[in-house]
């Protein structure tokens, strides 16, 4: 084993790049001593011929994927940014006119945008918080479950996540709908003719419940991976020192899986900000349940106001980027899910 590879304690990360600097698994580094010296000096380590050759091959191999990404991601995004500068309705192409940033001004000064923004934020915060707690509990159950039970348990917990969001949205809608629903008969504290989809608050409750039901398995799976990374010897040591379950949870388990928790939070937050299907199926955005993604859909697809819709899409894109940057920079989320040392 090369001297540059730090040993890992107990986890199966052999061969991984533990410095977390995003380098390729093919490690073109020169000797460890040389590198450390270069790092201390604040410069980059010099590349050997072999390393340079491997880097160039790497770039060549990545190039087709990069070009495809440009085509399918960057091009539509840039086109949307360009379209957002026009007043442009699909059914009146002759009346297309350049309006500069007017669309953005219209959107950002409209209460509808801010209400959708607040609704999206509300749904995101509540669902992600509930999912984190629930997901962690489920992950603990899966982690601790006896070996024979574990596969069955994991499958059972994962089933909601395997269901298509639109299908689960329909299922929840029909369960709560006055005509076809049965939930009112089950709940003692609501009347039989309580209309869940008549009000903003009760509609949001159903929307969030279905969202939580659907995506808690995802978060619990990510947390399960994090739990598996917590070194057993640390747990053992804490147990020997007489730490209780809660003390071990707070002082050993959670700090050691911070990266996993942050990655889970980041993924779910980005997911929740884009929430669309549940709202589309259950309320179609009525009664103040409209989210940002739904607003973008309505302007672009339904109203065919391509300019206005593109501007909303660009704003939504910026919001997603902002959240990702915040998580990565401020909360120091390491997307390769490695621990520091």
């Amino acid at each position: 084993m090369s001297a540059t590879r730090p040993t890992t304690s107990g986890s199966s990360r052999a061969g991984a790049d533990a410095t977390g600097d995003g380098r390729d698994a093919v490690d073109p580094r020169p000797s460890g001593e040389q590198e450390r010296r270069a790092r201390r000096a604040g410069g980059k380590p010099p590349l050997t011929d072999r390393a340079r050759g491997e880097r160039n091959l790497g770039l060549l191999l990545v190039a087709p994927a990069f070009l495809v990404m440009i085509g399918v991601v960057a091009y539509p995004m840039l086109l949307a940014a360009y379209d957002s500068l026009f007043s442009y309705r699909l059914t009146a192409p002759d009346q297309r006119s350049f309006v500069g940033l007017q669309n953005y001004i219209t959107i950002l000064s409209d209460p509808l945008w801010w209400r959708a923004f607040a609704t999206t934020g509300y749904i995101t915060v509540i669902t992600v918080a509930v999912e984190l707690v629930l997901g962690f509990a489920l992950a603990m159950v899966m982690h601790k479950a006896i070996t024979t039970l574990r596969p069955v348990l994991r499958t059972a917990i994962l089933i909601p996540y395997a269901i298509i969001t639109v299908v689960s949205a329909f299922a929840w809608f029909y369960a709560f709908d006055l005509n076809s629903g049965f939930v009112n008969q089950w709940l003692p504290f609501v009347g039989d003719d309580f209309n869940w989809f008549a009000e903003r608050s009760s509609s949001l409750v159903v929307i969030m419940l279905s969202e939580i039901w659907k995506t808690t398995p995802f978060i619990s799976l990510l947390l399960l991976a994090g739990l598996a990374q917590v070194p057993e010897d640390l747990q053992e040591a804490a147990r020997v020192d007489g730490a209780t379950f809660w003390e071990r949870l707070r002082k050993v388990t959670l700090p050691n899986m911070k990266a996993a928790i942050m990655v889970a939070l980041l993924f779910r937050t980005l997911d929740a900000v884009r929430i669309f299907d549940n709202v589309f199926i259950m309320t179609a955005g009525t009664n103040g349940t409209e989210t940002l993604a739904f607003l973008a859909y309505r302007q672009t697809i339904q109203r065919q106001e391509v300019g206005l819709g593109s501007a909303i899409s660009v704003l939504l894109f910026l919001l997603v980027v902002l959240i990702a940057v915040l998580f990565v920079k401020v909360f120091k989320v390491d997307l390769s899910r490695q621990r520091g040392e």
Binding site: L61, P64, S87, L90, T91, A92, P93, Q102, T106, I107, D110, L112, W113, L178, N179, D193, F194, N195, F197, A198, A284, T286, N287, L295, R298, Q299, I301, Q302, R303, Q304, L308
Partner: protein, 433 residues
Amino acid sequence: MRRTAAVPAAVVVAGALLVSCGSGESQEVTADGTPVLNWYINPDSGGQQEIARRCTEANQGRFALNVQILPNNPQGQREQLVRRLVAGDSSVDIMSLDPPFIPEFSEAGFFAPMPPEVQEAVSEGVLDGALAGATYADELVTVPFWANTQLLWYRQSVAEEAGLDMSEPVTWDQVIDAAEATGTTVGVQGRAAESMTVWVNALVVSQGGDVLANPEAPADEIQVDLDSPEGQQAAAIMQRIADAGVGGPQLSTADEDASAALFESDSGGFMVNWPYVWARGQTLVEQGSLDQSVLDDYGWTLYPRVDAETEPATPYGGINLGIGAFTDDPDLAYEAAQCIASVENQTYYFASNGNPPSNAAAFDDESLLEDYPMAPTIQESTQLAAPRPQTPFYDVVSTGIQRTWRPETADPGSTPAVSTELITEVLRGEALL
């Protein structure tokens, strides 16, 4: 352990670009060379497919009709057709269109111009309301196919108990009073959907008012007339239904089906709805979930009046046939549309699928009365029918109404004003919708 290095020598990037053979497109033909005309239809119970078959058979090899099914709801149908037509899709030969979209399509140049002789032929004998709905800017731009209209449905026993003489015209106030007195319901569509625009438009136009003063004007010049005595009266009626509690628990989310379900329930008294509720009731009886005695108790009459002295402007719906602007053979497409909308086919479509004709002559078939005893009322109602605002910006007007009118919060003092302001701002590009 040593592994033999089986590293792939090269990565082959197959840039398989699908290049369409776009140039020199020619019209679709069948195996024996007959030109194929695509007819984009709204989903139904198979009636349009059968009509396509009949027309294909009848024209002796001049064209073959091929049916393409559009999404289920009118909004989805509009979206798909717009996308195709914006791209200049020549495969769109004939379209089954919901009438409110006609001005927008016409303004965008999506229809092939209708030859004068066709205009004359397809407007002969068409009921006034249906003709108005197929027309934009004083010109017939689509072929009237079938015409829907809402009726006032009631339980004969309830009307009798309330002492309401249904052989005379009735007003909304009378209907609400009767339901209140008998502890029954008035089924309306309070959902924030297209049906809300249908309702508001009918209430306003029934008083001689208009939702828009100049529907054909450019967006920034359109004058919204909802904040008027007629608009206030419309809000007052909605408010009364909510306050009296006769709208049922689902009032603010009720669509046509929910209203029908309410009417079929024990508390059913009155309902405004399309004629399909009759066929729906018969199906439920066959399935055993509705008692025959309930269906026997069904009564129908013209849509309620707002003002006792003024005839109602009944809601108008249905389907018209538009010929795509980019079709390879518009003349053939118009010939096919005339076949589809022939009196004979309209009668067939009513009898088999329950969709009422737009042509008066199609009502003449006496046998229709057996299955659809309300046919004469439908005919009379279609004659009185008033289309929704005939503007290319119908979508803005309709969504604006859907967002601001709600039975529970309807207030003559604020709803019409708020609605007018929102729609006006959106039309001027100053607000989101």
